[in-house]
Amino acid sequence: MTTYKEAQVLDVTGELCPMPVVKTRLALDKLTHGQIIKVIATDVASCDDMPAFARAQGHKLLEARSEKGTYTYWLQKGEGV
């Protein structure tokens, strides 16, 4: 398994759509281009929402892992967003 040097870990366990995406966006606003955020979620909607969010706002979804109902995402902040 690849390890990432995340600048921040965001725990949105137990939160429903749209909060994982909204909180990830607000957290990314405080990071700089190239920095990585690790997001831990339990909302099954995040499986489609996080890739869609990353595509729409121009972030790179480095990896998504699913384990026993917990979904972990590593996103790298995109340029010019």
């Binding site: 939160e15 909060m19 607000l26 869609a52 729409a56």
Partner: protein, 180 residues
Amino acid sequence: MTTLGERIVLDAQTFNRLHAQSHKETDVRRLALVASKGTLDMAYPPLILATTAAAMGMEAGVFFTFYGLDILKKSKHNRLQVAPLGNPAAPLPVPNILGAIPGATAAATWVMNGMMRKQKMPTIGEFLALARQLNVRLIACTTTMGIMGVKKEDLLDGVELQGAAAFLEYASKAQVTLFV
């Protein structure tokens, strides 16, 4: 840029500039919503969609008209209610006819607010704050304000006042428009 008969041949630099420009233009996506209802259950969907759109980098604007205007009122936005009467899906496990008894609306509202809190969902007031933080345009319908005697100072700070034509112009440039 050189012209070959009718064909225009662009040099790489010009092509890249124009391509970047057109890409940028089509890249701006917009969501325009109409929020026409002032009940707790109908206040959530437009605010959820608008904040999500803005979080994704889309432009988002919500036009609050008729009862939807209550969502923007200082005095009302945190006291919206959900009525069980004529709303069989409302969160109160009683037969629909009992929705008419006094206190049924307050009870259903209490239940729904509890459900939201249990799932860590923001309140309507918190959603409005998020929306403003993400630059969602919150637009109050001026005709509704006139009909219902609502003044600008009754509404939350940062709310815009607009008529139908201005909103339609904004919405006509949106890829997603929904009426709630």
